[in-house]
């Protein structure tokens, strides 16, 4: 049921198809933001884009058990600053249940339900 991307969002999905997570950046302040848009939500001034490193930490998460297959929704705090919504992927339920706030995660791209390449995260093995 995903709608066609808004025009200003098209380049985000083109970048995603190429394996990159695009962030907006406020030209006036240099501050990155998410989701990208043509103006800065901080100043109303112009914005450009940067590519995220793909490194981040789990800010908050929840495993949904009522779905056909349990999944983990999360807010991931990117190294660049913004907190973004995503899923933390794992190979099985015990992997999902092992996720903790503060865990380091890394960006991966997989097709979503509609087949579009979409940014997700996976937990980096912690000691």
């Amino acid at each position: 049921m995903s709608a066609a991307p808004h025009d200003e969002q098209e380049k985000f999905w083109q970048a995603a198809a190429g394996g990159q997570l695009m962030l907006g950046r406020c030209i006036d302040t240099g501050k990155p933001f998410f989701y990208p848009r043509d103006h800065s939500p901080f100043t109303g001034g112009p914005a450009d884009t940067i590519t995220a490193s793909g490194r981040g930490t789990v800010y908050a998460h929840s495993v949904a058990y009522r779905a056909k297959e349990p999944y983990c929704i999360a807010y991931v705090q990117l190294e660049e600053g913004p907190i973004v919504m995503s899923n933390i992927l794992a190979d099985d339920l015990s992997g999902l249940e092992a996720i903790r706030i503060g865990d380091s995660v890394t960006l991966v791209f997989e097709a979503d339900a509609s087949g579009r390449m979409t940014p997700f995260f996976r937990r980096l093995t912690t000691g």
Partner: protein, 393 residues
């Protein structure tokens, strides 16, 4: 400046149904409108201002939206306010009605809410309707944020930062069940224990089934009037004295998930009212989930940040037992959650307490100052928070 005396709530009515198989949404709106007007001693023909939100039939359809329900009810209006902030809308509407009355825009304001998600077997997360034109949609929908898991994220973060436990959250449900046992209309009237809550299935970690509110049909209505009219009626004089609203946004990805809009809506309302949280004798707090109450208690200043768990445990919210009686009708956790929007019933129970019309087992003695607060939208995402402080004269 305090709102005191600018307008009065003279009518309040809660629909007794919890499953409205044989009544349409429009009929439910009519039921509650007539019920609240009868409570006030007024009639439909007295109404000249109407306040409604996205639960009205036809809201999202292209075309007449609010005009349809106003015509159906038979209202002759010179003021219409359709401010939509989901579950908190009706708390906003009271404040807006006071402003409209003070500005001379209307003299008798009617506010209605109704819905039948249970009869329609509608999923709570579907209640917000078509969203996919909204600019954030494509960046979030792929990750399946249903209502429960977004609140689950808030609860996990609170546990992480403050050491809050599932048992502490469970006390919020326990308190609601202690109150609901006295409410003959409540969906869930059995008293539950902390163990019942934490042993119920996990829906979205760390929230259990009994951390979640009910899905119910029903509705409610309020009548707010000019002081001259209020004094002509034989009803207790309940006046809003402070109100606040804040829209909590995600701000480009920079937000604190534990700081709801209540931080600012509450501060604004308390400042306007000229009172402090310790003055409040009764509080209605939106309880979509147990965690919602915990965060709101902290954000409104009833306890320090991070101390919510200790505040609610051991019956802290049970009338006659704890420090602050909360949701003495059983709240959304046990009583009802009509149209998946909790703000209306929050105001109604606060009015009951101030009138001395709550159930005797939960009535706060000589209740003169009460608060109603709601979070419309999602606590862990964007939401509109509304705070209302009411006084009995």
């Amino acid at each position: 400046m305090s709102l005191k005396g600018k307008a009065y709530i003279v009518g309040a009515y809660e629909h007794p149904t919890r499953k409205a198989v044989d009544r349409s949404v429009a009929q439910l709106h009519a039921d509650v409108a007539l019920g609240a007007l009868k409570d006030a001693g007024l009639s439909l023909s007295d109404v000249d201002g109407y306040f409604c939100a996205g639960d009205i039939p036809g809201w999202s359809a292209p075309g007449i939206g609010p005009f349809g329900i106003a015509e159906y009810l038979g209202l002759n209006l010179r003021h219409l306010d359709t401010t939509e902030s989901w579950g908190s809308a009706y708390i906003n509407h009271v404040a807006h009605a006071v402003d409209a009355i003070a500005a001379g825009k209307c003299r008798v304001a009617l506010i209605t809410l109704a819905g039948r998600p249970r009869a329609e077997a509608e999923r709570p997360d579907a209640a917000h309707g078509k969203r996919y034109d909204s600019p954030e949609y494509d960046f979030e929908a792929p990750y399946r944020p249903v209502v429960t898991n977004v609140y689950g994220m808030v609860a996990h973060r609170h546990m992480y930062e403050h050491g809050t436990t599932s048992e502490q959250l469970a006390w919020i449900k326990v308190a609601a069940s202690h109150h609901a046992q006295h409410n003959p209309h409540a969906m869930l009237r059995d008293v539950v224990t902390v163990e019942d809550v934490v042993n119920s299935p996990v829906i979205a970690s760390p929230l259990h089934r009994l951390d979640c509110c009910v899905v119910s049909d029903g509705g409610g209505a309020l009548v707010v009037v000019h002081p001259d009219i209020a004094r002509s009626l034989n009803r207790p004089l309940i006046t809003p004295i402070g109100a606040g609203f804040h829209l909590r946004q995600l701000n480009g990805g920079y937000f604190d998930i534990l700081k709801s809009g209540g931080v600012r809506s509450g501060a604004e309302a308390f400042q306007q009212a000229g009172v402090t949280p310790s003055d409040i004798q009764y509080a209605s707090l939106y309880d979509s989930f147990t965690i919602t109450v915990l965060v709101q208690l902290e954000n409104l200043g009833f306890c320090e940040d991070g101390k919510g768990g200790r505040f609610v445990q051991d019956g802290g919210l049970i009338s006659g037992v704890g420090k602050l009686p909360v949701n003495t009708d059983g709240g959304g956790l046990c009583n009802n959650h009509p149209a998946n929007r909790g703000g209306m019933t929050k105001v109604i129970e606060a009015v009951r307490q101030l009138r001395g019309e709550a159930h005797p087992a939960v009535q706060v003695a000589n209740c003169q100052l009460a608060l109603a607060h709601g979070t419309g939208g999602q606590l862990g995402g964007r939401h509109g928070a509304s705070t209302l402080i009411l006084e009995r004269e």
